[in-house]
Symmetry: C2
Subunit: 428 residues, 2 copies
């Protein structure tokens, strides 16, 4: 079998499995999830062995220590992965929820009901725990999954899926064999092959950077919900409470800078720039933050000695649209709300943006006019997260507007159908 | 300017207009819609003139009489078009609806609020009234529209958009000039040019047949919600009430066969085939229906003289997946519910499918397991329609699962954003 045939067969099997999944009860699905978690726990030694092979591959590829750490499984990480699957089992079932209901004048009762999407392809990088997370969330919602992780994690990913499937089959013989599949080849051509099969694949969720997203968008013939970068902003308005603004800025930038909801850019309203920027520098210095500043910010910050630990650089044009994922913060002085919103519209990634102000009118304009998945008034951008939103778990954070926007939890892994309950109605 | 530059500029203007639209109040938008309707009424003579030129082009292209009739505007049709726009003005505003609200333990209040999608490209064929329909629905929901109709309707479409924009500007000077645009060229390369601009275009809705949908899917880098064909089924179960089944079948096939929710295929359960099929033939004969039958149906129906008006032909393999849009009905005898559902899964287009039965258990299995946008128990497939669903108006019927499924009304022309109302919350 050549690659295209192999991928076509895998996708066709997934479609077939998805039909089987539609008939499983909530209790059946949860029982399988608990069994999958137990299976992962039990197979700890095998998983460590498979992962050791991946670590070897990773070292051979010259991965950085940080990347190798992401790739690595430990007993604790396996236990955490299993615990995550158990948590998914405990969440309420989103399938079958009645989202809308109406009885038409002719007596036809219409229900809009949440149902599985079908077959979901998930493309992600490195961390093997994503395999178990994504597979369990998709299975909970009655979807078949085709997973495509980084090639360096192939052995770990294949084994995780295999363990989950056999554990589920052991407690539910009708569990469809191909409900959870990992693409068994590192060949990059597997992605266009998969995404050219709209008859089998209902949705692709790519989680990653520019090159991954571009590769997907260049070839896809199936719907995509992108999980793309977060270039998030904190706008400190002239009427901001300075202490609150400092807390929010430091949290948004430094609490976990590697996440997509961390702030990349501080926009300061000019009337407060001379007071706020030195205070911000003071607060960011302990985190060794590098500031990439525009000329007015540099003029303010350069007027006094920099606090120990802080670095100052002139911002390059590209900085404004870069997700640094690190202790780097772009800083710009803006001329009020309109200027701030124009900057966000031009350079932002429509992920998460915050305004800090006491002025309600300006806050409301910001909340309405900034076209991002999440907008905050006097709160940190770091809240854009399924757990923080009370969704229980998330497959990721959509930067798209169609299908799902912002954190994607179990509800967002469903579509809906309309059910018409009739008594012989015909259209007049 | 070459085509790519022209299209890029048009799309950039639309994006800019969409930001202006976000700030218009409900009252402003409705006032503009009423003015647009009045404008269309007033410009009746100009519209007839522009349309006469299109009719000439259409004749030159050798369009059929049916196609020419679809293209033609009359005073009555212009009045109906204007009335449609007024109806859209009268509908409730979907923008700003709070879809979900929660207060987190830290006091952060989260609201999920319906907002415009942004810039929507609509690709459709022939009928110029779609221009006013689509533009008014998109404008009502705060979206900028780029319309691409058939080239034979170009003059009519351009003028309709121009009338709507200038009428709106006359009552609201801040109305954004580029909120409604018609692609001003018949060059087919305009479509790939438009759909390669995800920075400006948020969604494409193609309404049409296989070749249009394929052309879109082959080039798009923007999200698409397809309005594709309807290969709809009526399954008459062994426990069906025969009179009800006949009424539903005749309605689904003959009430308006050119629509996507009309039935193309009758599936008859074998134990009732010998009684049901001759009765069905009797009822379909007055509509001059052509039956395309499998062997068992032919055996039943060929046993007696056919009723006057009916034609019988052997079904070709391709018939089962064809949207005939005409008085043609495929007929197949199936071996019970599973066989019927397998047929629908294989040949259907996941649009609308109905089961007629008195058996609740089988009905519920059909409703759950048939993976179509709308599934009916004892009702006609013809109900899949925004008006019939009580949505007030529809842009069309989505055959996709992501973004919207089934009838797309005003609610479905919105996306949402999350608004976080804080008092200084940071993530711990």
């Amino acid at each position: 079998m050549n690659l295209n045939e192999e991928i076509r067969s895998l996708a066709a099997e997934a479609k077939c499995a998805s039909r089987g999944l539609m008939t499983l009860s909530t209790a059946d699905r949860n029982r399988c999830l608990v069994a999958m978690a137990d299976g992962l726990d039990r197979a700890s030694a095998d998983l460590l062995e498979a992962n050791a092979r991946d670590m070897e591959t990773g070292r051979g590829m010259g991965l950085s220590e940080a990347m190798l750490d992401r790739l690595k499984l430990t007993e604790a990480r396996i236990a955490a992965m299993a615990a995550g699957v158990r948590e998914v089992a405990a969440l309420p079932d989103p399938v079958g929820r009645v989202l809308d209901e109406r009885v038409r004048p002719n007596g036809l009762r219409l229900q809009k009901v949440a149902v599985p999407i079908g077959v979901i392809v998930i493309i992600y990088e490195s961390r093997p725990n994503v395999t178990a997370d994504a597979a369990s969330l998709c299975f909970k919602t009655g979807n078949a999954t085709i997973l495509r992780g980084g090639k360096e994690a192939m052995h770990s990913n294949l084994l995780i899926a295999q363990i989950m499937v056999s554990a589920a089959k052991a407690v539910l013989p009708t569990f469809p064999d191909h409900a959870i599949q990992v693409v068994p080849t590192a060949d990059r051509a597997a992605i266009p092959a998969l995404l050219s099969l709209p008859q089998y694949v209902d949705l692709c969720i790519p989680r990653g950077g520019e090159s991954l997203i571009r590769a997907v968008m260049d070839c896809t013939k199936v719907p995509v919900i992108k999980h793309y970068k977060g270039v998030c902003h904190v706008f400190v308005d002239r009427e901001a409470d300075p202490a609150m603004a400092l807390d929010i800025l430091v949290n948004a930038k430094c609490q976990r800078p590697s996440t997509c909801n961390a702030a990349e850019t501080l926009l300061v309203d000019w009337p407060i720039a001379t007071t706020f920027l030195p205070q911000a520098a003071q607060r960011l210095a302990p985190y060794q933050v590098e500031l990439r500043v525009d000329k007015p910010s540099r003029a303010v910050l350069g007027a006094n000695p920099l606090p120990e630990g802080l670095t100052l650089k002139a911002a390059a044009d590209s900085d404004w649209e870069t997700e640094h994922n690190n202790y780097i913060l772009n800083v710009r002085v803006v001329d009020g709300l309109n200027d701030a919103m124009a900057h966000i519209a031009r350079f932002g990634s429509a992920h998460s943006d915050a305004i800090v102000t006491r002025d309600e009118a300006r806050a409301r304009r910001f909340l309405q006019e900034v076209d991002s998945a999440a907008v905050y008034w006097n709160a940190s951008t770091r809240f854009t997260d399924g757990g923080e939103f009370g969704m229980g778990a998330e497959i990721g954070i959509s930067t798209d507007k169609v299908g799902a926007r912002g954190p994607m939890g179990l509800d967002e892994l469903c579509t809906y159908k309309w059910i018409g309950w009739g008594t012989g109605q015909v259209r007049g």
